[in-house]
């Protein structure tokens, strides 16, 4: 059984995602030690420095999605099943920093597909309270694991279907943001495919630093941030850093 990690990385006019990727890859190598495949485009690939022994898949990414009026290249996640060379694949956002080996053990479960359905706001403000933004039980496509099985294939087929008719589903579930978001596409697909019943999830809440927090220090063990006049830090915990300026720290 071949196990590995699939990362998607596409630079935009405003954000050098390849620089975030460098930190993400370094942490994966240190803490998870799994083989890595990066899905990227030629323009981004040319800007990347040497990341050591990793694999690349160059694609022509789909354009057109935006976030706060800026280019946002997040639409290709539905192709993870086809793009992954692994039997068991961990897919992560590159701004999810693995400061522990916690995710490693999930590569050895019997589950076809696992995704988190809870988030932990590290500033304790419940920034991501789902009910104020949509009518669907939320999942977080920041991190998920799948196996190359028929069941997982059907989940990805459903995600493709939801993506194709996203405007319809977006209205039906009264989702506040009108751009395409993988979190909602995955949540809708899982709910639809599972007959509107429960599905298998990770048992942990995804530790997340909201975008209005300024990262003031970051290394391979800890992250410190500022929110208004409050400075906090956390060490040895995996976390999703939503402020993309963290790469400049």
């Amino acid at each position: 059984m071949k196990k590995g990690i699939l990362l998607f990385c596409f630079d935009t006019e405003h954000t050098s995602y390849h620089r975030i990727l460098e930190r993400c890859v370094r942490l994966i190598k240190k803490n998870l030690g799994l083989e890595i495949t990066v899905v990227t485009n030629f323009e981004t690939f040319k800007r990347m420095g040497s990341l050591g022994s990793i694999n690349y898949k160059l694609i022509q990414h789909e354009k057109g999605n935006t976030k706060l009026g800026k280019e946002w290249n997040n639409v290709d996640r539905h192709m993870a099943y086809e793009l992954s060379p692994y039997d068991t694949t961990l897919v992560m956002d590159i701004d999810y920093f693995c400061l522990t080996d916690n995710l490693l053990q999930y590569m050895d479960t019997a589950y076809d597909f696992l995704i988190p359905d809870k988030v932990h706001d590290l500033t304790d403000r419940n920034t991501f309270g789902q009910r104020q933004w949509s009518m669907i039980p939320m999942v977080w496509a920041t991190v998920f694991i799948f196996k190359k099985t028929q069941k997982a294939k059907k989940i990805f087929d459903m995600i493709k279907y939801v993506k194709k008719f996203y405007r319809y589903f977006n209205d039906m579930y009264r989702i506040a943001s009108k751009n395409f978001r993988n979190d909602y596409a995955f949540a809708i697909a899982l709910q639809q495919l599972n007959g509107f019943m429960d599905y298998d999830v990770f048992p942990f809440a995804l530790a997340t630093l909201p975008p209005d927090c300024k990262v003031i220090a970051i290394n391979d063990n800890a992250v410190a941030w500022q929110y208004h006049d409050q400075i906090s830090y956390i060490e040895n915990q995996d976390l999703h850093v939503m402020n993309k300026e963290a790469v400049d720290v």
């Binding site: 479960t109 589950y111 530790a207 040895n236």
Partner: protein, 105 residues
């Protein structure tokens, strides 16, 4: 009454409360244990359940975190792993908790 001193105390209390909540969440994340391809929480409830069942039977069924049944054939090994993971995470939490106490003194 010095209102600045009270404000400072309020800020400190808030900082500690948030840090404590984050540390507890970190401990919960670390308490997860994958055993026989299924996922369990190495918390007090699971440990007590396994201990109780193992007192009566050598083999039994329990539910994992997604409510799927798993047969446990070696309760001693499973219990040892649960306790090890539980104490590892709580030890880390304890270290962090001591820093909270020092800050509030």
């Amino acid at each position: 009454m010095d209102i600045r001193e009270l404000k400072k105390q309020s800020d400190l209390s808030y900082d500690i409360a948030v840090a404590k909540r984050n540390a507890l969440e970190k401990a919960k994340s670390r308490q997860i244990l994958v055993y026989k391809e299924h996922i369990f929480r190495a918390d007090a409830e699971t440990i007590c359940l396994i201990k109780t069942l193992s007192d009566k039977n050598d083999s039994f069924f329990v539910l994992d975190t997604n409510k799927n049944p798993v047969e446990i054939n070696d309760p001693t090994e499973f219990l040892n792993k649960l306790i090890e993971r539980n104490q590892e995470s709580l030890n880390t939490y304890h270290q962090m908790y001591k820093t909270f106490s020092q800050r509030s003194e």
